[in-house]
Structure formats: C-alpha cells, structure tokens
Symmetry: C2
Subunit: 128 residues, 2 copies
C-alpha cells in the first residue's frame, strides 16, 4: 500500500464532502479522465470540476464518499488502486447509481508527485 496515495485519496474525499472543488483538482493530472457515469467521461480539470458540481447538485449537496477495503498494485511510476467506495447522501434511496462501488483509480508519478490520471468509481461494472 502506497501511504502517500492513500492519504491523497482521503484528502480528495474530504474535499468532495466539503465541496472544495478547486482543491480537489490538485489531485488530478491535467489530462485526467473522470468517469462521471457509465458512458460519460469528463476529460481535463475544467470538465472534472464541472462534473463534480453537477454530481454534488444531483445528491443535493450531501454526498459523503468513503473508501473501504483498498488494494494497490504499484509498478514503477504507476499505481492501479482497487477500492470499495461507499457513497452516502441524503437522497441515496432514490439514486439511479450504485452507492457501493468497486472502484478503479490509476495514479501516476510525475516529477516526484502522485496524481490521479483515471478516476473510475464504477470499476469493471462498466462492462455489464
């Protein structure tokens, strides 16, 4: 487990909870891709910020992400993170999207700094 990346994910979750989206963008590379929902990608920081604002609104500004069991596969400057991601929200009962996910995140280290390059909270369920 890469403790630095684990801490980054915790801080990113906290930024989402507190809706500090500019802080949140610091965790992503300039060319990062976020899977907003199956079939919809946000590419680059501006699109990712816009997507998080919409996700927050969808969940009535009450979304709380937390990570459960986590596995990291680290290969040089790249890490594949597998993580149980739990989403809580005031309106979770009516969400069209799963609130318990097996996420896949890819982090890359550039010039000594780990950044998220792929944020796919839906994991392999995109294949279903």
């Amino acid at each position: 487990m890469n403790e630095e990346v684990k801490l980054l994910i915790e801080k990113a979750d906290q930024a989402i909870r507190e809706e500090r989206f500019d802080d949140l963008l610091n965790f992503y590379s300039d060319d990062a891709v976020l899977i907003v929902k199956p079939g919809l990608e946000a590419r680059g920081k501006a699109a990712i910020k816009d997507a998080f604002i919409k996700i927050a609104a969808y969940f009535k500004n009450s979304v709380v992400p937390t990570q459960g069991k986590m596995i990291m596969i680290e290969a040089g400057d790249t890490i594949l993170v597998l993580s149980q991601t739990l989403l809580d929200a005031d309106n979770k009962e009516t969400s069209q999207y799963s609130m318990e996910r097996k996420a896949t995140y890819v982090f890359r280290n550039t010039n000594g700094k780990w950044l998220c390059v792929v944020d796919n909270s839906y994991g392999t369920s995109l294949l279903d």
Copy 2:
C-alpha cells in the same frame, strides 16, 4: 478504443496460447506487475515469465485466453483497460480460479511505445 493497444492484447493472448513466453515479455515494461492469483504478484520480466510457465503447466499446456467486451479509458500516456477475459483449458472444470474474469490492465506509453505495466486479470474481485 486505442487500436494499437487492442492489437497488443490480441498478440499477447496469441503468444500465451502458443507458449512463446519470450515474445510475451515484449508486451511488458521492465517494472510490470502481473497478478498471478489473488495474493501473489510477479514483478519484473523474469518473474512474469516464470509465472506464465507455471500457469501453463497448471492448465496442462492447453490455456486459451480471449477477450470479450473491452473498454479503454485513455488519459495522456496511460490507459486503463477493462476487459472480459475468457480462459479456456482442457482441465477448466477443475480449475480453482475463475475462467470468466473482468480484467483490469494498465498500459503506459514511453517513448512512443505502449507497454503493459499492470496485468490484473482478476480485476476488482481481489476486493472480495
């Protein structure tokens, strides 16, 4: 879908079928990690070759991997591949391991060449 990476995966599957393990290693980076089975990683080309020789023996030299539905999430020089991976083998009925998997592969482009850095055919099932 990155067609170059799709072709690399096809060629790697063919090399596995034909047990051309030295050719197979050309698809991996020097620091690549293969998940041999849950809890067991092979790190680097020598360990990966050794693992494939053992996997081939486990399946009585009859293993045939093929990919079904595939999704690629490409972010700059990194690609997360999600893929239905089907394994066939003469003794598949007695395999302790799933023969139908939702795999996660990470490819990285270095100096214009795509290489596999994380080969995790078990996908997020490692979290179960």
